[in-house]
Assembly symmetry: C2
Homo-oligomer: 404 residues x 2
């Protein structure tokens, strides 16, 4: 009889986010006519900017004539796009070669699939709370996951794993970092990131740095790429996405940087760059050529200008939420260089208790922090994605109905 991968037993069934929908539905069913106000959206809501829309259209039009039609492209991505990405990094003083760029259909698959090139005996350290994909994908692969707590006392930026000799620690092989962070909306500083790079170099661990929200950083002192830290090209893989940077959540485009300097423990298998190349050429067939034309447009000067303007719009939403909630008496974190605000539930309420209060008293939906890990208990992720008017109504409703 065909045997199944029993590690699937160890991952939750994704009921968590379904439960928010279920509770919201139960409320509207019993309160007909009530409109719910959403602060729980982890998804872009504004249309694609004109310069990028033109790129996508060009991508479609090229497929309509024999002279410009293209089928399979390189699994690693269009040469022009890989070059443009390398130049984009150069523009922020980071040196990346086109051959180190692997274009993909988004950060989520890459975050999950990168596990493939590492031994299933690896120990993987991830933040808690954090984007659940790092945890679930590594558990499915049979790897052991340990947690780095992100707490109020460390500003929600975890510290590198403890070394075994310091007690209660153990050697880790892979470290997943996400900055700006989903869900806490906090950003790692250059100094903090440096301690991770030093740790990784000393312990020969590999850092997987998820920079999907980098374009929300508004302070030049904060690192947008891990490669801004000296030595990172010897120990870090960086994953990027145009989902939140250009509204490509549905279009699907991202990339992963695997520096040529990264070597595997066993030279006979080659560098990690060669291994990821082998993984991608075997198991992936390239991102959509239409999306890649769009990606080129995003990285053009006009595309960068227009997409950054759109991010300013979301960041104004974040400001309205942050200031409105603070004025209403809540304690909030993040949301200054990220589209997420991390709200501390008042009066020691659990995330689900406060979810229910928000729903019943303010008709607002936010995301229970406990869905992102045990250390998310007692917090809510409040999202700045949404149309301005809806964001304002939601904040007003909390202020009027739930002042602390």
């Amino acid at each position: 009889m065909a045997k199944i991968n029993s590690h699937y037993k160890d991952v939750s069934e994704g009921y968590f986010f379904l439960e928010t929908t279920k509770r919201a539905k139960a409320f509207t069913d019993s309160h007909p006519g009530v409109e719910l106000l959403k602060l729980g959206i982890g998804n872009t809501t504004e249309p694609i900017v004109p310069a990028v829309l033109e790129g996508l259209k060009r991508g479609v039009e090229k497929l309509g004539s024999a002279e410009t039609y293209t089928g399979y492209g390189d699994e690693q991505g269009d040469t022009r796009l890989r070059g443009a990405i390398a130049e984009w990094y150069a523009g922020r003083k980071v040196s990346v070669e086109p051959a180190e760029v692997f274009v993909s259909d988004g950060a989520k698959p890459d975050c999950a699939n990168i596990s493939s090139i590492f031994s299933d005996e690896s120990v993987v350290a991830i933040g808690d709370p954090v984007y659940p994909v790092y945890r679930d994908s590594n558990i499915i692969a049979g790897k052991r996951v340990v947690y780095m707590p992100a707490l109020e006392e460390n500003g929600f930026i975890p510290e590198p794993p403890r070394e075994p000799r310091q007690g209660r620690g153990e050697h880790v092989d892979l470290i997943f970092l996400c900055s700006p962070n989903n869900p806490t909306g906090t950003v790692i500083t250059r100094e903090q990131l440096k301690t991770f790079v030093e740790y990784a170099l000393e312990h020969k661990a590999i850092i997987v740095f998820d920079a999907a929200y980098s374009e929300y950083i508004r302070d030049a002192a904060l690192p947008k790429s891990i490669y801004e830290i000296e030595g990172a090209k010897q120990c870090a893989i960086e994953i990027q996405s145009l989902s939140k940077a250009a509204g490509f959540t549905g279009v699907r485009l991202g990339w992963t940087i695997v520096p040529k300097e990264l070597v595997a423990e066993d030279a006979s298998t080659g560098t990690l760059n060669q291994m990821w190349n082998r993984r991608q050429t075997t198991m992936f067939n390239g991102a959509s050529n239409i999306a890649q034309e769009g990606g080129l447009a995003v990285l053009s000067p006009e595309g960068q200008r227009q997409t950054h303007e759109q991010i300013d719009y979301y960041m104004e939403n974040a400001r309205i939420i942050r200031e409105g909630l603070t004025k209403a008496g809540y304690t909030v974190f993040g949301g200054v260089h990220a589209p997420y605000i991390w709200l501390k539930c008042p009066s020691g309420l659990t995330s689900w208790q406060f979810f229910d209060q928000l729903l019943e008293k303010a008709h607002v939906i936010a995301t229970p922090g406990s869905g992102f890990g045990d250390r998310g208990e007692g917090y809510m992720r409040v999202s700045a994605y949404g149309h301005r008017e809806n964001i304002e109504r939601a904040v007003r409703s909390i202020s009027e109905n739930m002042r602390v």
Copy 2:
């Protein structure tokens, strides 16, 4: 130190197809002015048909306004598309529920990723020769691969694996089948497919049926879907693609059918449908919404008419190749319900020896059969993808310069 997945050592480095390019380049470098004629393209060459191009354009335009913009969709695919796919199967008398359809970015990733839900202790049977992705993805996962020979004496359609008690066999858990076949261009008959389904039901094995070339079948007696065989919904997963059906090789869209009837050995993990759902929601973020709009257009009546007309064009190429090569004295197989012709190298030449002769004497490129497995040695895959004029010139050049 981070440990790597050592199974990568057991897969070849993809040098094979690079070698064809290398030899071609060496020849043109030493023979300036000579134009090479390609019969080695495993990629669509004709532009997207108008009805489908309109669908793709609609997909882009929707992203440009706030009213119709969409971000993340369901990882399983757009509800409309899942419904349209179920109806498409109904049109060929196969019953598939929308909830059994998982839309993806193509057949290659699905063929490779499906391995994730099965135990790494599984034994996997694949044809030889065959599309190398089945082999390499399962080896990377640490699964054991056994081969089902596809030889001239069985018409290149393998028989089900032997049972252990018959000797030289062993129990297999997973069986990969591809029909119409890449590379041999042969098609499994209803009777032959029935023996596989019966074998799988008896031995509780799971068949993964790759139907990516089904639209090239021109004989209603031949099965386009494994679900045309009674009992297949209890033992088979089917993978489909619009790459070769609609020229979507670069656009990226496919789907996998995981019937609800398929149960795992251990009920606590749920059905295979639930497990694949868990895999996709954790590690995939949906196919591009633009590609999915295009997919809806492909499945529309006009889209079906136009794409089938385009396939007729490729099939006319296949006829020209088949008849031309036969007239020139070659023995060929396949190419009647598939875009590939399987040519037997004359005079006992190896695939690479004949590759060199074709290159030097006829200036034609074809694909050495040995690249698809040991049993492909002594054959060449000749492809019907290409513009008519180039196909005709290549066949004429072989006839004039390499008559057997």
